[in-house]
Symmetry: C3
Subunit: 312 residues, 3 copies
């Protein structure tokens, strides 16, 4: 694997899932693959799970890790070409990327969308520049529009837990009190479209995702109907794509235990952090339906499979 | 040892002190005990000595370390059950703890008190949740009410320096310009009460500590009398427990060289950082009485003894 | 080498350059020299290249690294003796240095100048205190007045690229939109004065550097004349030394491709980050003249040569 920017960089997603499941059982089998190699993690936005799980994955492979926390305020990167940089930007991304690539064997980078300029966000300029100019493999630690390490961990979780070959997987929009990016649902949809599962997306009217991520998924505004006979219910809030970045908070879409009754004893998924009793009710989160902790734990083997593919 | 939240988790404090002293002489004897194991350090408040000494201790045992800096502002954890999380809290501590425990073999966590709500601070909810839900051993890097890694290092220092079997140890309140937590004096008292030393606490009226930490200590408001014949003088400011969080700044309680004259050539201790000529005068700090640097150095072997006990 | 505070700590700069070039070819030859040893990096100001390259250098030598980010706001160090510390400073630098030295085998420290109090900045109190009190070797990660790790990397770059034994090296002031320290040009001049190159400094009137750094360099206000037949053109903005900290932004001093025409096909150098089309024009930066990326890459072998000299 050259880069890991999205599922498009993965020849066979199911093979990568299998690799991750193997590494979960034997995390230290390749513990000298990364000896004396360095993973550089660059955070333009906060990170907890991604930071810790990716670091752990690198340690399991014997790598060294260096993390760099940068905020857009103190270290604004220029992404346009040819401009006179007399404003807030102190360095052009193509220079920064080319420099950092000389200090690491692999770079991971996180950068959230503005949620203000859709065209700019969906252009994914920053991570594309890093892939183009750093000279080393680049891993997406969540960019403006996708979060493939999360999706891979999600897929690992489904493969571990599924009780029939082609489970019904339902991704449902849920309410929230802040406008969140579309990266997790975009990415989950994109990966689901590379499986042979039955995949359904349900959300309120006006809250549809970018068509290129929705792909062949069945889309409905009827949450109740969508959940019928579901094997997996992936709950996630996102802000508007049409009305870009718009916050919607409709409490009737919150998932609780009652809503899971007509499912096929569905496993309940969420990428975390989850606001309890806003996105999902306690009675569902604390029930046997929930696999959210397993899902978070799978972030390690997912990142490790990606790193291993890059190093080998 | 399962957790290290306070002295209550230690069967035999003096055995742990001896272990620390051994490790100080031979820091690398167990340098493969922690190979491929990860210590996760989580800071909800700033840390210098604790961060560096605990990291060093982990390195001496061959562990990997990952540090996470979180401020209460950007990543507020919910500690109440059953609430609708539509406010500032973005994640429930029981979820966060259970996730982080999957990425590390051991977790250390630092979280200061509010100094506003005594009942809440003394409830120690955050660290208790981590111990309950993380699934891995938890080390207290200073919580709302105690700082046991500091106290263990203090005890190591006394054992190294004492000239009689049962030294007289005096902990004296000292002035300061900011309201500080009671964690260091609480913890020191609690550990002293597990020794057979003579232990005296002296402080101005109204500045008493919580009785459960004071225990069997002799308490007096007469600093001069307390210092008589002392072998060790532990100087520390704390804010009010009765008038919770209240700042008191009485310059007459500052320790200087003159005040040490009637001691038994006492060793002068402080946990650092120390404001010179406010808490302790230069003439005392720069005299042969001072063992503050040795004390700070002992933070490494103390943390290493705790980590070793947990790993073995 | 005891400390690496400036070129004055280096017996033979050219030998150190040769060592760095050797390490660049064989970065892992000494990969067990630093096993179980810890480099502590302390940042009172932001750092990207220095942080990453020095960390990488330490990893190449098998060292562990711990980084501490402190801002002057939250952790102000007192640098005066004998004062009553009842203000913003929470710890005296001599105490902090002596503590940290017990946790690491080597300390690196970065601290920018105020650009307000010239005498104070040029006194270099902070790093001198660290060298005096920490008890371990101290590496300058850029102080108020010099940046020797950068200069060493610059010298490595010149030695790698030079086409005649005594190249003409020209350092030219360039415009900027913010007042920047003089540390990079001071340091570059100081190192150039330890070589047998022809060394010319050019800058607008009133923008001269401290005479002790200028040394024997030829100084001219005629940029065009200075550039004639140059083999290397080092471009850098700095704020006023005479009118201390004063910002000057004269666009006519920007370097572009046209200005390089009368050079000896000069290599173009800059320490980065560079504001494109303010300091240097795109047409020069993106031409074959530019060696800025090689220069940034050489930060690793430069830091590694310094660390190796200290460890051996």
């Amino acid at each position: 694997m050259k880069h890991f920017l999205s599922v498009d960089d993965v020849d066979d997603p199911m093979m990568l899932v299998k690799e991750a499941i193997n590494l979960k059982s034997h995390p230290l089998v390749y513990d000298d693959l990364g000896i004396r190699k360095v993973l550089g993690l660059i955070f333009l936005n906060p990170s907890l799970r991604t930071r810790m799980s990716t670091t752990r994955a690198a340690y399991n492979l014997g790598m060294n890790v260096m993390s760099l926390n940068m905020s857009n305020d103190s270290w604004t990167l220029e992404t346009e070409d040819g401009v006179v940089m007399d404003g807030n930007s102190i360095e052009h991304v193509k220079d920064a990327a080319a420099v950092m690539g000389q200090y690491c064997e692999v770079i991971g980078i996180r950068s959230f969308p503005s949620l203000k300029d859709r065209e700019d966000d969906y252009g994914e300029h920053l991570i594309k520049y890093f892939a183009q100019y750093s000279g080393v493999p680049v891993i997406n630690l969540e960019s403006s529009t996708v979060h493939p390490l999360q999706s891979l961990a999600d897929l690992v979780t489904i493969e571990e837990m599924k009780k029939r070959a082609k489970p019904k997987v339902v991704m449902t929009w849920a309410p929230h009190v802040r406008a969140l990016p579309q990266s997790v649902p975009n990415s989950f949809a994109e990966w689901m479209n590379r499986t042979d599962y039955e995949f359904v997306i349900t959300h309120p009217e006006g809250m549809g995702l970018h068509p290129k991520f929705v792909g062949d998924a069945t889309v409905t505004h009827d949450q109740e109907k969508a959940l019928e006979n579901a094997d997996f219910v992936y709950v996630k809030n996102w802000s508007g794509f049409e009305h870009y970045g718009e916050l919607k908070n409709d409490p009737s879409w919150m998932i609780d235990l009652n809503k899971l009754k007509n499912t096929n004893n569905a496993k309940l998924m969420h990428c975390l952090p989850v606001r309890r009793n806003v996105v999902i009710a306690d009675d569902a989160l604390d029930s046997d339906h929930s696999v959210i902790l397993k899902q978070a734990g799978n972030r390690v083997c997912a990142a490790q499979a990606v790193l291993k593919s890059i190093l080998m």
